[in-house]
């Protein structure tokens, strides 16, 4: 074995020092800590039917809105606006629906390759390096949150790899969250003056989202399925 940095060293963080030719001293960067669980709280009383700022912001940030050649029923759909009507009262609410980042995700259960997985901090992702495009997860997802890339993609964003033959969905802006930023849907909603979306650590009782959830006891979609979504809907 010649003098060369190990793979572990290569993975490490930005602080590096050259010890000798081929030897780098690097400070290891820690993986995502366990114990945290990222989630969203969406206040449906602030969300209006005509507004799709969150959807547009997501599509622009990750480039999934660029597709023009696809059939409309095959269009990528990381996040969508849904009209929910209570059949008894007739009340109609407009809300964004994206991957619900379940604690017990059915997509992960059915994935034959391990491509669908839940990160230590609760974010449910598709590892598209391993995805074979079988779409079992799309059938298993009770929320219709995932979509399949049917055609070759060019001009991807550097921060948003996506390509033909794999399944994709909302990843809770995982790269931004790892960098300490907020999801783009939240920022778009805030810049529209609505601020209907709250993001934070559900497991931290002192976080703004956890305190608000304790205060208003928001609903989660399809509680009968007991998948325990990480996305909460207030006023539903």
């Amino acid at each position: 074995m010649t003098a060369c940095p190990s793979r572990r060293a290569l993975l490490a963080g930005a602080a590096t020092t050259l010890l000798a030719p081929g030897w780098l001293l690097v400070a290891a960067q820690a993986a995502v800590p366990t114990g945290r669980r990222w989630g969203l709280l969406i206040d449906t009383s602030k969300c209006t039917a005509g507004c799709d700022a969150c959807v547009r912001a997501c599509a622009a940030e990750y480039g999934w809105g660029d597709a023009t050649q696809v059939r409309s029923d095959q269009a990528p759909r990381w996040i969508r606006k849904v009209e929910a009507k209570d059949p008894r009262s007739g009340a109609v609410k407009s809300l964004p629906v994206m991957c619900q980042h379940c604690a017990k995700p059915p997509c992960v259960d059915v994935c034959p390759t391990g491509a669908s997985f839940k990160r230590a901090d609760g974010i449910v992702l598709v590892d598209r390096h391993v995805c074979i495009g079988c779409r079992f997860c799309m059938m298993a997802c009770p929320f219709g949150a995932r979509s399949f890339v049917h055609e070759a993609v060019t001009g991807q964003r550097a921060s948003a790899p996506r390509g033909m033959g794999t399944v994709e969905a909302c990843h809770l802006c995982v790269g931004r969250v790892d960098a300490g930023l907020l999801p783009v849907c939240l920022e778009a909603c805030r810049s529209e003056g609505r601020a209907a979306i709250l993001f934070g650590d559900l497991n931290d009782p002192d976080s703004a989202i956890a305190r608000r959830i304790a205060e208003i006891a928001p609903a989660r979609l399809r509680p009968d399925l007991r998948v325990e979504p990480g996305v909460h809907y207030g006023g539903l």
Partner: protein, 114 residues
């Protein structure tokens, strides 16, 4: 036989410009040239799993860092995509006849460029 193989490989690298002695990239690579030539695929594979699965994102050490630093510009000064045979990855992969599928999902342009 071994000498012949070495001569052929050096000749092919010269032809494709991969030897690159005349070429200097900005900044320092994550490992020295010989190490990168031999093991870049293992390094990328390992980085990829740690990034996707564990959220380890060391700045400039992902595939985006590679294509940003090693960007090749065309005669108009615009970085070329992997569809162009002058792209850095192509400078070896065409002659080695190893088809890579990284860029069916990842951007082959420097970060931020489309």
């Amino acid at each position: 036989m071994r000498v012949l193989l070495a001569a052929v490989s050096i000749l092919s690298m010269l032809v494709t410009g991969a030897l690159g002695a005349e070429r200097t990239w900005p900044g320092q690579c994550v490992a020295d040239r010989q190490e990168m030539r031999r093991n870049h695929m293992d390094l990328l594979m390992h980085t990829r799993d740690a990034t996707v699965r564990q959220g380890v994102r060391p700045a400039g050490r992902g595939l985006d860092g590679c294509v940003t630093c090693h960007a090749v510009k065309d005669e108009r000064g615009v970085p070329v995509t992997v569809a162009d045979e002058r792209h850095f990855c192509n400078s070896c992969h065409i002659s080695a006849a190893v088809r890579i599928d990284c860029f069916s999902c990842h951007s082959s342009l420097p970060g931020g460029a489309r």
